[in-house]
Symmetry: D2
Subunit: 314 residues, 4 copies
């Protein structure tokens, strides 16, 4: 398949929530979309320069972080997040035309989707078996390909559209507020300009696993007035109890407070991987505290330079 410079990859197959998110992403309008089997393969294509960017899930309000995304971003050639979007997760029960609810003995879906639709299933499909599949979209795909060991699937609404299936029921998730957040990944060199409502993502590697290390790291942020919005520990793969920290903080790398916090982390960590500064999906503007604005940093620097030079005629 030929891909142009404006091809956006996503975690497939066609009909996933990721594709639904990509369709809503302003920057992706008019681009070609290309599904990938795994987060790793999508990101490798970005690294290789064969696609412009890739959209992958990073966090779900019910299931938590997507480890595959965190781990892929934390290793290999550098990539950066250049945008994010969050969409509501709504589930539909879908089946080929002609199948009615009464015909269904078995339903195929991903275990996470199964977990999020338990109440509806108990009330509306008691006694129906649920067969695990690798993704919700693949449950639909297999259904349409034929030979599926089930008569219906639980999927994103978009999957019904893609695979020509009929929605027998919609909004069947137990938690109607469930959200998934997706990040758009590109090669370094395209950090968006600051908007005043930005976020910065980092991976921190500890110099040593001493007890106070996390407290030390949090203090580097706090002392520059930079708030965290997410912190996630991930194993280093070296030993049990040996972690890195995946962190989102408010603000943009071009801000002085964020820059000084990054330098402080660089000094106390064995490594800091910068994963991008980009506009927040919720547009919430940062509350920059007194004494931590760019102007306050600039003024402090001028004051120091004056002190140093005033005292230097020696």
């Amino acid at each position: 398949m030929a891909t142009s410079a404006s091809t956006f990859g996503y975690l497939g197959p066609r009909g996933t929530f990721t594709e639904a998110a990509l369709r809503q992403l302003p920057v992706a309008q008019g681009a070609d979309f290309l599904p990938f089997d795994t987060v790793a393969s999508a990101l490798d294509e970005v690294r290789a320069g064969r696609i412009t960017a890739a959209l992958v899930p990073i966090e779900n309000s019910v299931e938590g972080s997507v480890s595959a995304t965190l781990d892929e971003l934390a290793s290999g050639d550098a990539l950066v997040i250049i945008d994010e979007i969050a969409i509501g997760v709504t589930f539909s029960l879908v089946a080929p035309a002609g199948v009615s609810l009464n015909d269904i003995k078995r339903i195929g879906t991903h275990p996470h989707a199964h977990a999020q639709c338990r109440s509806w299933l108990a009330a509306n499909a008691p006694g129906v078996a649920v067969i695990p599949t690798m993704s919700t979209a693949s449950a639909a795909q297999i259904l349409i390909d034929g030979g599926a060991p089930y008569e219906a699937a639980i999927t994103a609404p978009i999957a019904a559209e893609h695979y020509g299936l009929v929605e027998l029921a919609t909004g069947i998730g137990d938690n109607s507020d469930a959200m998934t957040r997706f990040v758009l990944i590109a090669r370094p060199g395209a950090t968006p300009l600051p908007t005043g409502a930005d976020k910065t993502t980092l991976v921190l590697f500890m110099r040593s696993n001493h007890p106070g290390a996390l407290l030390e790291i949090l203090t580097e942020f706090a002392v520059r007035g930079v708030d965290l919005t997410r912190i996630e520990s991930r194993p280093t793969r070296r030993a049990l109890g040996d972690y890195t920290f995946s962190i989102d903080c408010e603000g943009h790398i071009d801000e002085a407070r964020v820059g000084e916090a990054l330098m402080g982390l660089h000094r106390v960590c064995s490594d800091v991987r910068f994963l991008g500064s980009y506009p927040r999906h919720d547009g919430r503007e940062a509350n920059v505290r007194l004494g931590t604005t760019d102007a306050a940093f600039a003024e402090a620097r001028e004051w120091l330079i004056t002190l140093r030079t005033t005292n230097e005629n020696r």
Copy 2:
């Protein structure tokens, strides 16, 4: 199946790494073992009092935390961890008798196992397709039941033994140091006595999601000289960016320093769920710092009481 008071559940099916760990656990010797499909169903049986305890995986040095276990322990009726064990994760390529490496076109295994055996597969089975299964043990089970869409499976060595399969290759994991840690879960009322090398597990629910909340929590531990060994954020399921923290710290609830830290957390958190104090699997003794021993706490209390009573004749 009849279960006795000394029945230990585990995450099945038969032949999982969890079963291998349970067989090594001293306290489980002589007990009946009972596999469960899911962590949730095993813990529900403990809660219902139908089994003595259940062993479930909580953390892997390569894959990270087991979310299902963290989330099941954080909600529902109270349970406590009463023991832990960590075992090395070694993978074998297994097949029915008569199948040789050359006969294999497809291999069934769990995606995590697949991810951990990539190098060996690239070198020794190039071109062989890998078919995802729900667990490594179920890959073996399906193989022996017949009708499997693959000729061999990657599993724990114990699975070969259980299902009467032959090990074609052993130790095929890329990371020979990979470990998984398992916790033994029981109903409250059985906290083991302090050994001097203990751990305490907690789930902390934030009063509000203010930026300094995590720094505040870490300070409650630090000021009593209690070191953390694990910290994991988990979504509250209410909204994106709203977390609880799952924490392991050194020490036993019966120690004064741990007790005061717990009370401090109880005062600053909206809720603290105590998930047990139990001996560390590695037997590493706590380094109790000057001024934080039980004796130091007792002496400080006596001093305060004397001060208060000396000054009370009024």
Copy 3:
């Protein structure tokens, strides 16, 4: 002079600001007053049980702490502060009857008083020499005794009254808001009951002079929600750079948050000297933060005890 159980000592001689403060102190009404030459001699009489209590200055809003008082309280047999009062410091120019401003060539006063009246002197008595004396009251005393090397004195208004001198000018201090705070010292055993607007005074001796020691101490207070209102370093007399800290904090020793902070300090310091809990002179009620009320501490303790006992049937 015979002294009864209700004799209150004060830093004399007669006519000092301390005497003026003592006259305003509700608890001293009706008692005998006895001046002492030095803070040390007054406190020694309290220690010996020969007087009920002694009022001494501890802090002035212009000159700072009174070292003699801090050092006397920090050593020797234990004493406690049981009350405090702050009064405005107003200066008068006083002289024997018949002396007018024009007759004055030299003025006697204490150097601190001189420093606080410079502007008035420059404007109203240019060219007049100022002769240092040991206290403002002694300047008046010498003037009335005869043989003083000056014609007038700068004193507290009360000194004019005592020594039969005439006030030639009043309110001549440069800073009309200047205040001095005085503390009433007694033997242990008379701590006043909590009022909700209390203060506690401590002297902290460092275990070692490590760089983080002060940060560690402040954290012990902060983590229990106890605010400091004064901190003063004093030399240990052992070596330059070796300090103790004299501290006032909000709250009463009978409060749980203050008690736990005191115990924490006792554990991390080499010694903690309790110098009393007493009502604030300004009556400002403590702002007890969420989670640090006595009820919150009691609830946390009950919760811990329940956890410990629930888990103890082993």
Copy 4:
């Protein structure tokens, strides 16, 4: 008296410990010395450019800080400390030739000297009255001028030499390790170069007197690995309980860690007054912690600049 550009002032009169210290100060060798009655008058002459520098006491290991010096440096036109020296404080009993110990009924000295010689006086001069004077040197001066209300004085050994008095006893202080530290004050523009064993002096004015202000300030130092060696609170003269902090920290303003700490303080304080970076009197080299060397700061800055520019082609 004509003064040259190389005139060093000091706290007089002649014969003070300050003069003894000045005579030992390498940079003062060969200069003219000029005594001043008060710290204020000496510093005013430095400000006016009429003398090169002035040596004044700042701290005594027994008595604590010298408030007059702290307060003079904290207000008025800017001055900086360019050197420091500490000398042992040893006291002598001095008298005019022909006076023997038995002839002495009264001794003149400063109250601080009196306080430090109590044991010797009790053992060797019981019943002798001690008459307070404004300084130890002035006690000697008055003695030699005639008309002194005492027969002998307690002074620095240097005073005997100056005033032609005889030392009847030497080393009579109770604390043979007592030290006083003196600072050499000049106009801005002469900060000594870094030596690796430097100190920096600051006065910090709080933005507001909120409870956490001091903790916040200490954290600004700690996070850059800068240790404090002295902290002293001084009243602002506005109200009781309203303080500034006079601080000495390790390191030199030209060091990156000190520079960033200063900028941090400038951002969180209402004002920061820089009072000089200068070699420590004890020559103790700074222990610059991992990650806080100039090289670590420079490397972090280069890393940040690379990150920012790499990502800026937009």
